[in-house]
């Protein structure tokens, strides 16, 4: 069960470790379906930092990143019924909704050039998604999931890490990655397929995202 002892999301506050079990996540989902506004507040409090992380890493504009996060919570509140009822499915679903919306924005014509240019700038995957840890972030709800995903990523060969980075965190397509890395399209597909296969094996065991 999750005990929300105090808000922890706004910067500067002393993050307190909270616990979200599968049961608690299921409870939030059910209460969202029942239009319980407290459940929405709880979800926003827990998920916003992670959703902002995804959108800001994909979109260069912080204001646009916030817009996408806000849209995602609109979806969570108004279309919660379509989220998977499976255990531990709520947060991944919300992450997926957010990421897909960010990609939709990226793939509009006006964003395309920016997207590609930024991919060049952040081509060093290590700097982009493995920032130096800040001591107080260990208390961030979900931080251990972040660490596990990071660890899973680091187990991949560097060329697969790079392909995953460009596809998953920069929203590039196969052909765009091939162009970016100057490698054949088939090689990109193979690297991604292998990388996704390995990541599935590692990440499939993650059930509770805050324990």
């Amino acid at each position: 069960m999750l005990a929300v002892s105090q808000p922890t999301t706004d910067r500067g506050r002393n993050a307190t470790r909270r616990f979200l079990s599968v049961e608690r996540e299921s409870s939030i989902r059910k209460r969202l379906i029942a239009r319980d506004e407290r459940a929405l507040v709880e979800l926003i409090d827990l998920a916003t930092p992670w959703l902002l992380g995804v959108t800001q890493s994909m979109l260069s504009d912080p204001a646009e990143a916030e817009e996408v996060v806000m849209e995602s919570f609109h979806v969570a509140w108004n279309r919660i019924e379509i989220s998977p009822d499976a255990e531990g499915g709520l947060m991944p679903w919300l992450l997926r909704v957010t990421r897909n919306r960010a990609i939709d924005r990226l793939r509009s014509q006006r964003r395309h050039v920016v997207k590609t240019r930024r991919a060049e700038i952040y081509s060093d995957i290590g700097d982009a998604i493995t920032p130096p840890e800040e001591p107080n972030e260990a208390g961030q709800p979900g931080w251990h999931v972040h660490e596990k995903v990071q660890a899973a990523m680091k187990e991949l060969p560097p060329e697969q890490q790079k392909a995953i980075y460009l596809a998953f965190y920069r929203g590039l397509t196969h052909s765009e990655i091939a162009e970016e890395l100057q490698i054949p399209l088939g090689t990109v597909k193979t690297r991604l397929r292998l990388a996704f296969g390995r990541l599935r094996g590692t990440l499939a065991t993650l059930k509770e995202w805050i324990v």
Binding site: R11, H74, P84, R96, Q140, A167, Y169, I177, L192, F196
Partner: protein, 242 residues
């Protein structure tokens, strides 16, 4: 490798949105028809569901989470039909107000135009009435240096009004004016100044003088503007007797 193998190979890429647009559409067309692929996609989505969390979390700016809550719940309070219909209703009301204003202004203009037209019609009707009822119609020629005009009098005894038409004469010289006089037993009685425009006949409606006995004729003179007396002193241009 058969056609379906392509879908199997690209299931993870579909989840990651790494497929090209046309490939993505192809996949979306395929999914409703293929239960195996749907199940596989669900599994991959579940397995890779945490992958976005490789990205470092970003602390929201102060007040942002509250802003989200308010925005989402406000959206909820105002359902879709209200969110759509309310602005439309406001726009429609504004259009109606503006439209009514325009109609009102247009209506006021129309009313004003109608009133002027009605007044003109009444005046024409009155003019025609005098002419139709006239017991005497008098006409005389006015000749001068290089011009030949004339004067008509339509005398309506029933209303004791005359319609006087002066035409074909030049405008009065500077310092002078044309004057119409009634001929009464006790002398000439001033009728009115006749302002002449050479391009149009001058038309006057004059009421007969009441206190000077019966009117038996009329005269048109050219008077100096300095003549403020009640008797003509200038040159007589036309003279008519009933």
């Amino acid at each position: 490798m058969n056609a379906h193998d392509w879908y199997i190979e690209n299931q993870a890429a579909y989840i990651a949105r790494a497929l090209e647009r046309q490939e993505e559409e192809l996949f979306e067309d395929h999914l409703p028809r293929c239960e195996n692929c749907r199940k596989a996609i669900e599994e991959i989505e579940r397995d890779l569901g945490w992958l976005p969390m490789a990205v470092r979390p970003v602390a929201p700016r102060p007040g942002f989470t509250r802003q989200i809550t308010v925005a989402v719940l406000d959206h909820e309070i105002r359902p879709l039909w209200r969110r759509v219909m309310q602005p439309l209703a406001i726009a429609a009301m504004l259009a109606l107000v503006v439209g009514l204003g325009l109609v009102s202004r247009h209506s006021a203009r129309l009313e004003s135009t109608l009133m002027v037209t009605r007044e003109r019609l009444d005046a024409l009707s009155d003019t025609l009435g005098i002419m139709q009822r006239a017991q005497h119609i008098l006409q005389t020629t006015i000749k001068g240096d290089g011009y030949e005009g004339g004067m008509f009098i339509f005398a309506d005894n029933s209303t004791k009004r005359w319609k006087v038409v002066v035409h074909g004469i030049p405008a009065a010289p500077a310092g002078e004016a044309y004057h119409f006089w009634f001929m009464c037993p006790d002398g000439m009685v001033k009728g009115a100044e006749v302002k002449v425009d050479p391009t149009h006949p001058a038309i006057l409606t004059l009421t007969l003088p009441q206190d000077f006995g019966p009117v038996y004729g009329a005269s048109l003179t050219m008077e100096s503007l300095s003549n403020v007396s009640s008797t003509p002193r200038g040159k007589e241009l036309a003279h008519l007797r009933l």
